[in-house]
Symmetry: C2
Subunit: 685 residues, 2 copies
């Protein structure tokens, strides 16, 4: 039955608008325009359509809502407050203030009810594609006749900014391909961006573009007033089961303000007299602020109560399901609790030096083959490099719409296409849904295409894994356009992300162990194209510390620290040095982030005082000074050629490393050296 609307709906809408006006004025900062324009859409959606339980924001089958234009976050904060999430009126009053739950853009890690962290444009709507994929997957995997455990929708609002961003284009094309009928996106067509009239830069036919992607399209021409039209559009979108829907809603930015319809109301609080004008227009007292009429709370509470009841019904259904489908239920329960199957880690392969030399991208494939069968929450794929990244495990079934003929929604292998940025953002959405551990493959160099999404993985504290192969000049002939130099430095400098560069099989297993068990930290695994020997002294137990002594000697003249494909070369170097009468230790440091979390005592045991340390890695030396006194790396772009020749060109051989080590020993002879671990003061972390 179509919902009906009355004065109370209008009052609710205007309350939301004025909360945004008041909060931005109090903060003297922020974006009132979008919330004022989008209050009608969001009210209809939250009040008449969405199922959610503010008392348990994590209710598994809740409808998801994403505000992709995150700068309009006072809209979201106002809604969360009205519906009874843990967000008080005082929280709204401390909008954009230090330590508040209402930061300048919505952060999932900080605020209950915020599904994903948005603000950087284009990300939210791409996350929404991941959220919708997750639902489709859970429904296909867990629903049984009489047990529709999963049927939630994912709703998103995006503005013109998101529409223009390439990541949103990539994700939207993907969503169309995947026929995600559970995804409904509102396009806030207010014709204004920061530079003013969008006609200055955006004259494409957005709905036609989405039609081309395979979406269902609807246009609500009066998004300011036509509540019934908005509701009808949502119902129409819900009725289309095999396509995502985009509902273009033409709205007036800053509705009610004297500056409505201009960019003057986009990113600045309203002037005092204008705020008074809006309040009078809406029948509020111009002298009051942060006013919420009780009947507005009451109306919201009804919907919240319906959500709580829905969760209760779901819990009962799940209890029945548990007795009928105990294995599936156990799997689902584990996922809801964010736990891994007991003993999964026993599936991780262990190597000895008698095992052959293998490229770490192949070692990664072996791990995936072992663990994907025992950890059903793993869901992954590649950005069209399956045969290079080795991301597909033997028993994998493609995640595809049935009609494609390539797979089904219960499948777990995702064909992302050549869309690295969308892959990153979709993985953020998959992870945010809960119960899934996404992984995605591309060349390490092209993780940079997804930098915007990677940063948000780290900031929003989600667990996901980049299978980043072809990790250096070692990829050889493809040349400098594909050879990372700066990439590891970039991501090592990003907070809360592990950047693993394993040297052999045991270290690859360790990388996956940490990637799966650190539930609030994403990982990048940098993996070689070329073969790497299995090293004596490497174990999973040592490697999961992020760094360890691979070769110890008493009275060392030098420590060499290295990662990945250079560790065995550094080992060769230690032997050459020995033959010349030097004593050389060797440290493998596959992940800085993990190593930095170890005790100072442990870190000092790896990097002791008293002798120089030389770092060796075929990339920029920037950053390595943190662990070493001298650095051997490549501070230029690479070269196209067979990999062994490229390595040799730059001096990355046992001899080349030994030569630098000798020079390091000579240079520091007689200088009392401290471990670089020792610091004068504590870092801001």
């Amino acid at each position: 039955m179509a919902p009906s609307f009355d004065k109370l709906d209008t009052l609710s809408i205007n309350t939301i608008r004025l909360l945004a006006v008041d909060a931005t004025i109090k903060a003297n900062s922020g974006h009132p325009g979008a919330p004022m324009g989008l209050a009608p859409v969001s009210h209809v959606l939250f009040n008449k359509f969405m199922t959610f339980n503010p008392k348990n924001p994590k209710f598994m089958n809740r409808d998801r809502f994403v505000l992709s234009n995150g700068h309009g976050c006072m809209l979201l904060y106002a809604l969360l407050h009205l519906y009874g999430y843990e967000l008080s009126l005082d929280d709204l009053k401390s909008f954009r203030q230090l330590g508040s739950k209402t930061p300048g853009h919505p952060e999932a890690a900080d605020t209950p009810g915020v599904e994903v962290t948005t603000g950087p444009l284009g990300q939210g709507v791409s996350n929404a594609v991941g959220l919708a994929m997750a639902e489709a997957h859970f429904a296909a995997r867990f629903n049984k006749p009489g047990y529709e455990l999963f049927n939630n929708y994912t709703y998103a609002i995006m503005g013109d900014g998101c529409v223009m961003e390439g990541v949103a284009s990539e994700a939207s094309s993907t969503a169309g391909h995947l026929q995600l009928g559970n995804l409904i996106v509102f396009y806030d067509d207010n014709h204004i961006s920061i530079d003013g009239d969008t006609d200055q830069a955006l004259t494409e036919d957005v709905l036609k573009r989405y039609e081309a992607y395979g979406w269902h399209t609807v246009w609500v021409k009066d998004g300011d007033n036509d509540l019934a039209g908005i509701a009808a559009a949502i119902e129409e979108a819900q009725s289309v089961k095999d396509k995502p829907s985009i509902i273009k809603v033409t709205t007036t930015i800053g509705f009610g303000s004297k500056l409505q319809g201009t960019h003057g109301v986009h990113g600045n609080p309203l002037k005092k007299d204008d705020a008074a004008h809006v309040k009078e227009l809406f029948g509020f007292d111009p002298n009051d602020s942060f006013v919420v009429p009780q009947e507005v709370y009451d109306l919201a509470a009804k919907q919240a109560a319906a959500g709580a009841a829905a969760e209760e019904a779901w819990n009962q259904l799940f209890a029945k399901y548990t007795s009928e489908y105990p294995e599936l239920a156990a799997d689902l329960k584990l996922r809801i609790e964010n736990k891994l199957p007991e003993g999964w880690e026993k599936a991780l392969p262990v190597y000895t030096t008698s095992d052959p030399a293998i490229a770490s991208r192949k070692l990664s494939e072996t791990v995936l083959n072992k663990i994907c069968d025992v950890v059903p929450s793993l869901i992954g794929g590649s950005a069209d490099l399956t045969g290079s990244n080795f991301t597909r495990w033997k028993t994998a079934v493609d995640f595809q719409p049935l009609s494609s003929g390539f797979g089904e929604y219960s499948g777990r292998y995702i064909r992302y296409g050549v869309r690295e940025h969308a892959m990153g953002a979709i993985m953020n959405g998959l992870a945010a849904y809960g119960g899934l551990i996404p992984f995605g493959g591309t060349f390490l160099n092209f993780v940079s295409y997804a930098a915007g999404a990677v940063r948000l993985s780290a900031l929003s504290e989600v667990r996901l894994i980049w299978v980043a192969t072809h990790d250096s000049i070692g990829l050889g002939e493809d040349g400098p356009t594909h050879q990372p130099i700066e990439t590891l430095a970039h991501f090592r400098a990003t907070p809360n992300i592990m950047v693993w560069r394993p040297a052999d099989g045991n270290e690859t297993s360790a990388a996956y162990y940490k990637a799966l068990t650190e539930t609030h930290t994403p990982s990048i695994l940098a993996l070689s194209r070329q073969n790497l020997p299995q090293l004596e002294g490497s174990t999973i137990e040592k490697a999961i510390k992020g760094g360890y002594v691979l070769k110890e000697v008493d009275g060392a003249d030098v420590t060499i620290v290295s990662t990945g494909s250079e560790v065995y070369l550094a080992l060769e170097a230690t032997k050459i040095l020995e033959s010349k009468g030097y004593k050389a230790r060797l440290v493998s440091l596959p992940d800085w982030h993990t190593f930095d979390k170890q005790s100072e005592e442990y870190r000092l045991s790896v990097f002791p005082d008293g002798h120089p340390i030389l770092s060796v890695e075929v990339m920029t030396t920037n950053g390595w000074q943190k662990y070493s006194h001298e650095q051997f790396g490549i501070n230029r772009f690479g070269a196209s050629g067979p990999f062994a020749q490229v390595y040799k060109k730059f001096g990355f051989t046992g001899e080349g490393i030994a030569e630098r080590a000798e020079k390091t020993i000579d240079f520091w002879k007689g200088v009392p050296l401290r471990s670089p671990i020792r610091r004068a003061f504590a870092q801001v972390e």
Copy 2:
């Protein structure tokens, strides 16, 4: 008159195909499939349509050709060889070998005739948009009745990979908005990507999407054989003056191979027997390789000769133009010679300590206001943040199609929309055209969205400028989603790019001085939102060295090195330290790249031996160990709140810095310290 085709055309096409077959076999690496499928299109284009002079690959009014699917570069190398560019058969034989002119992906800096560096997908077609914008601008600026100096086309080929990449979507939407009738893009619809059938990931209607962007669309259904159809499509595209055109050409990847039409022929050389099969099919001797029939050379030479004649005619026209329009001609000549107007640098503003505190984004605006009028090759804009980046100068006219009502093609202010990645790639194209110095504004944090393009700016050695404002936690309320932590570390680790973070007005002028005068290096200018005082001791002359002593003292206890908005705080700290009896030097280090190019003697004068050095910057400490013994930074995400409070929260005040400096002095007391400039061995650069 429509071109006609005969057996010689077929022979030329098959010659190209076989050169790709032979070169990939010889290299035992590379991509034969795309060249074999695209030989017909490229032959028709090069032989019947394009104007170019292989003896002068830089002829200003040449048609530009971009191979966006750069992995198919043997197509381009074969063409460049056949038409007489400086690329011998021996060069083709050393395909993908160390030091060759034929690397695994085309590099503009290495190979004559390669317009832009491609390989990372989506970039080339986006560069092509920039190349077409440049032509439109030059035509509008320099053409006069009877003097059509500029009328070249930009042609590009892209594959399914480019079609899927978001950067290409952004750039294509922009091209449609700008009505670039001089841009003709071929979409190689071969239905194969690395994962196999594109239907696994790409089921959108590509031509419909381009129609939505405002492009003219054509489809050539038999791109393998229908040469007349290809020619007719090009003529049709040329006839549409107010829209870019996309010509979808349905081709067979690896045409002629036993594996044609499959991904088996995408990224691997043909097997010996398959190569023999193809040669026999095409009437070539299966035992020969790298065969070019003389008549194929001759046919190509005709078109090359026509190009040389076109240049000669152009030169004569330009000579006449020079007498009729001496000022315009002088401007154009200067640009062709890649020179700046005499004395332009006198326009750079100079400041004294009596000038007020000003945000460096405002200082940047002042520079742009001064220099845009005297340096007409500057062409710039913003990714929809004009009012925040302050990129628009007072006399600016928008670069827009006349019918938009917003400007004209002779204008130099570009409204990029919220499309950072396309902005980066378009700037690469504008710079590659020659005679233009592009700049583009966004928040520093969102330069990361364009990482793929920035990397190629550096690799292809083009001069362009990112006006990257809101460069730190100093942006305040927008919070962690917008506050860079890792961004400078990322770009400082990238070879051949300047990353300026000026501390005041003189340093901002210095940054622009270097950005304009280093003709083969791109720049990022990291600029503050908050006000910065004019510093005593800063001058343009000192700052253009990348780093200098801002405050010298004899017998220093400590040197503080800092950048940008922290320099004045560090200066406060030196005064606090003085009041406590310490002697503190202060170094400002606005650009590492430039500083590293100074003599060792100079660098040691800035960072001498004998006392500890403390770095201070409100971002990651990673990398700063290169210049300092201790580092004060932020190795976590930022916080949303008023900027002064955010700075204080993390200890970035005069007192906070002085406290760390004291701890640094204490910690290193009695330890003989070497300058971090001294190194044990030379770096690979």
